[in-house]
Symmetry: C2
Subunit: 693 residues, 2 copies
């Protein structure tokens, strides 16, 4: 029995924290610059060398669409999840060629399909810039002024680094503001689709099995990076393992999106009682609306698929998080740990002087924002569609690029412009029916949330109903054409002033309040949070040591844990599933939505070794954004591909529970077996396994 | 071109009203005591006799579950919609016998299935009691006091009538309080299921086609009323027609649930900006949660079906209503009509003195309630499940029945008790899994809406998460057993004081605030609305005459209009569909959710006359609650069975548009053809057609 388990058996999680056990077993999304050396050595006898860490760092890939991946061949082959690649698959599909339904395999390089606007990043350089960022924030400044000074410093640091390195450079806020790191990435925009299975096997079990285990998903997708028209010859790529077994240490390299583990109780209350309920309200609405749209005809079914999957996935995640926050044990544990740290700070006059007001700073920010939260949420989270996004970016681009770099909105700083242009000039098709449904949804959401006679709503609707206005904007705009967007971007303010485009005109009507709300949020919420959390983190470092990890920030992290099952409702859940289990579940749920199998899998059953491990769980601490992360053994060889967490991982946004929280991966052996036996993709397997082709 | 059409072509709906055209062609849900005699005679040459009206009234049936129906044989056979009977079908189903999937036909009287708690009402006596109701409301009283005085009078009138007639008596508020009628019903509780088709053909097209046209639905269900253990031998029942044709006058007798056509602009604003958005938030949430519940396994799929259909239907209706209110033409038309009436009132000093403040009374009530609307909504609309409802009724029954009749909450007055007991003692099974999901949903809704640390939420949850608390309440309560409920009801306050039942204890925790909010709503909203609307209605009568109809109140009404298609997006929609069209749509949408056909229909196609009219539309002005209404010709013979309105009918809550608004019905000939050819139900057809059996 390990200490965490004993602790839980005694009196629940809260006690563990009070007793000073600040990390659960196998907890953590660690920086590669500060890996958990002692834990890995003491617990697993593994000592990652600097070379091992650099190799992992430079083989790991970040997807601009919000996922992770890895380079797995000397010819720049990239592995990720099907659900990370699926928006690209949708972009590349047409009414008569639905890649989500049929899957895709380029048997030759020439058949590989170029992705319209996918950008892959590989982290190349890391530097601690905390002192430089904080240099301009003087004692005595208001939190808003200090925050603004830091933002200017961040803009300068990123621009300088970008000019010097020609890499894509970002300053990352770690530990909610206690540390700042400069990350510079290699940026790849010529990315081509190599292979994807049918969505039915990639997402077998559908919404019902999402975030559950046992699972049977071939949630994988392969791309290839090109540089100067040729396949990338990478310095670092992962090699393939011969498989794993129960108890093996699994190491996960990926880009967890965001966690809220350092949040104060007051901040969590804001999430629990305001942010997540409003977000869920929007999600439930979007989920039902997507289903309505898709029900109308077969083409809508195809077009709406991505929106529905995304929103349903978010719904499951947020409902899981909210259930966690509604569990008194979770909030109680958080409150107890916080009380202990605050007590330690109060007991030390020096600490108390510097850091004692950190919690109040956060509490005040979360409280004060309630007064204008709804408007901020509508403008900053509610007005979404491809075309609305294009109009917003074009209008703001003209205005922002007229300002000095350090004074611009984040997304329009020089360091951000290349990625912005990739998005704005994307040749991906814009589907009118889909956009009308999205724009109508955004406009009616605005009217529902603010009231139909709110001045902003009246302006946005221009005397029309949301549906009539959406028709007018989408059918009338030229922004569906990337050339028209390019012309407006290049034409700058003069072109915009002359433009009669209705979508541009629409965004001009809402831009002022949207900007004001964003600025207010940065000034009154983000700056105050950073100021408060920097103090809390400093106190935490002082009281508990620095050997810990920061909350997730969609930057590269190392997570770890053994391949190991768990107990649920007094039943043992073993760590591996196999192909035989897939066919059993298919029989059991036959005919139900989400449990269809592609014909290839029905017919091909006899060709498969049914004992092949299919999916497995391990204790690695992951969260959304880690999708597509490689799972490697201590030799750095691929043993799996992360695609999900179990249901107990959803509360992982706030805390990690080693007894139940599990990451879910596709087994490397299932990938090989399926590619060889069902997809006739021997050359691809050979490439992955490093065999000459 | 009729006047309404010309008017629309000139300058939109607003002008029509300003020009004094107060009713659209074929508009109205008319009282049988004040039918539209002139309109019917002038436009259709039809003069309904007193005998015709009485015959219709006494053959019409109201379903306690919220629908309409009619007696159609000398042996008490009752026709309604499948979707009106479906909750009974679900109650009568088991894991191994799913009547919704298989349908049902009792070939003999002995095979008919008794419905657990279905109550049918037939309106027998009508009396205007406006003077008696208003007698206690003296000049100078506050609106709240006047409202309370009216409520006491209403209770006394109903009780006296019930004692005298032994019928079920209710006082109905008409014209929002300008008139009060006493309605006394024959009440039937021995009702047995005779026939239902498969849900797949009753609801063919599913959510996608709901509220649309063309349609292909056999949305019918047959019950039989028993009295003293024998089939009812009714004085009045409808006979069957030989069919209808385009242009025929269709007359609809049914119980429209509620409309808001007389609402003031301020009241509509409250619906548009507050009530409907919050209701939709709850509905979207429920719809997604129902789908999650149903996805878990096949039995959940069956159990959750009724909840999902109900909520999806409500969602489509409310989204349609909201889209109407977001249409400036609708609100503009309302505002213009209101301005015209208010101007007429202002211009007449006597009118102005009596009625001039009617609009402000309503406006103030709708404004002031915003401050406590959310709590009211959670307590009065959010805490729903079968078991929570039983606990509430049992707790309140003990307290209320200890008071004088006129002082009790409406649902516990003597006149309401028989129906209450039918519900409380229902032998219908309570499914634990379904109830846990509902109770968890209610508790988490409460926490989301009020915040998890709201005192009421803390009390309701008792230190547990919503899921753990739902498990505790549902698994622990004895209220699943009707005998246990009966014992608690009969034991009264003493039994309740001793009860250790967790669900009873739960309701006691929330009852106080729930009652306070309800009382506040009756006092500050309902009473003020009644006072205001009574004035507005009086002004309307004075200015426009009394020859009009009141808003719907789930009481018997006559609607009418020709069998007639309409134009939509420049396309003519013909009034009739046929069986051939069903098979075409089935082929077209094959494999998609909601478009499955029962095996019987696939195999039996060759036996059907495919030219048989299947569904039709007519101009009758109907709304939710009219489901199951018979459509008759001027001879009073059944030509159809209302089951829906088209998409343009959704805004019918606020206004009727003769050019587009259509009621959708099953054709009487399709009923006969399907019963004879596919269901081998000759004896049932013979009974309906009055042939000896």
């Amino acid at each position: 029995m390990n200490s965490t388990q004993r602790c839980r058996l005694l009196a629940g999680a809260a006690l563990c924290v009070l007793a000073g056990v600040s990390l659960a077993r196998d907890e953590g999304m660690w920086l590669l610059t500060s890996p958990p050396r002692t834990i890995l050595k003491d617990r697993y006898g593994f000592e990652p060398s600097a070379a091992w860490l650099e190799h992992m760092q430079k083989a790991a890939v970040r997807f601009s669409t919000g996922g992770s991946g890895s380079i797995i061949s000397s010819d720049g082959l990239v592995m990720t999840n099907h659900h990370v690649g699926s928006d690209v698959l949708a972009q590349l599909s047409t009414k008569s060629r639905d890649l989500l339904e049929t899957g895709f395999y380029a048997r030759t390089r020439g058949e590989e399909l170029r992705c319209p606007d996918l950008e892959l990043n590989v982290l190349w350089q890391i530097k601690d810039v905390t002192a430089e960022v904080n240099a301009g924030a003087k004692d005595g400044m208001s939190t808003a002024d200090a925050g603004a000074a830091r933002q200017r410093a961040i803009a300068d640091i990123a621009k300088k680094a970008q000019d010097e390195t020609k890499l894509k450079c970002e300053v990352v806020t770690l530990y909610q503001g206690a540390r700042y790191h400069l990350y510079c990435y290699k940026r790849y925009t010529d990315v081509r689709l190599v292979f994807a299975p049918e969505q039915a096997i990639a997402f077998f079990g559908g919404d019902t099995d999402n975030f559950e285990f046992p699972r049977f998903n071939l949630d994988m997708c392969f791309f290839r990076i090109y540089e100067d028209g040729l396949p990338l010859q990478p310095e670092h790529f992962l090699s393939w393992s011969s498989g794993s077994k129960e108890g093996d240490l699994a190491l996960v390299l990926g880009h967890p999106g965001s966690t809220e583990r350092l949040y104060t109780s007051d901040h969590l209350r804001f999430l629990r009682d305001t942010l997540i309920p409003e977000r869920l309200r929007q999600i439930w609405r979007s989920e039902v609306r997507a289903q309505i749209f898709m029900g109308r005809n077969a083409e809508n079914q195809r077009l709406g698929n991505e929106d529905l999957l995304g929103v349903a996935n978010g719904r499951k995640a947020f409902m899981g998080e909210l259930a966690g926050l509604h569990d008194p044990a979770v909030m109680g544990g958080k409150a107890a740990a916080e009380a202990k740290l605050r007590e330690a700070v109060r007991a030390n006059p020096e600490w108390n002087k510097h850091w004692g007001d950190g919690w109040e700073l956060v509490a005040k920010a979360e409280h004060d924002r309630l007064a204008w939260f709804r408007r901020w949420f509508v403008f900053e989270r509610g007005l979404r569609s491809d075309l609305i996004g294009h109009a917003r970016d074009i209008v703001r681009h003209a205005e922002e690029t007229g300002k000095p770099n350090a004074e611009r909105l984040r997304d329009f700083r020089d360091s951000s412009l290349p990625s912005l242009y990739t998005q704005l000039m994307s040749p991906a098709p814009v589907h009118e029916a889909l956009e009308v449904y999205r724009v109508e949804g955004a406009l009616s959401f605005m009217a529902e949330m603010l009231g139909a006679e709110d001045p902003a709503v009246l302006a946005a609707l221009g005397g029309k109903s949301p549906k009539a206005r959406a028709d007018e904007l989408v059918l009338g705009t030229t922004l569906k054409d990337p050339a028209a967007r390019k012309k407006l971007v290049e034409g700058g303010s003069a072109a915009l002033a002359e433009s009669k485009d209705p979508m541009i005109a629409f965004w001009k009507l809402v831009d002022k309040e949207s900007r004001e709300l964003r600025a207010r949020h940065e000034r009154e919420v983000e700056a105050a949070e950073q100021a408060g959390y920097a103090k809390i983190a400093a106190a935490k470092f002082a009281a508990e040591g620095e050997n810990t990890y920061p909350d997730a920030t969609f930057t590269l992290r190392l997570a770890f844990g053994p391949i190991k099952g768990y107990s649920e409702n007094a039943k043992e859940v073993p760590p591996y599933t196999d192909f035989a289990g897939l066919y059993e579940r298919y029989q059991d749920r036959k005919g139900q939505v989400g449990f269809e199998l592609p014909e290839r899998w029905v017919r091909g059953k006899g060709r498969l070794d049914l004992t092949t491990p299919f999916n497995f769980v391990c204790g690695a601490d992951i969260i959304g954004g880690n999708s597509g992360s490689p799972v490697v053994n201590t030799k750095g060889e691929v043993i799996g591909l992360i695609f999900d967490g179990n249901i107990h991982s959803l509360v992982g946004a706030f805390q990690y529970d080693a007894t139940l929280n599990r990451a879910v991966a596709v087994d490397s052996r299932a990938i090989i077996e399926a590619l060889r036996k069902l997809y006739d993709a021997g050359p691809l397997v050979d490439e992955m396994q490093g065999k000459s082709r």
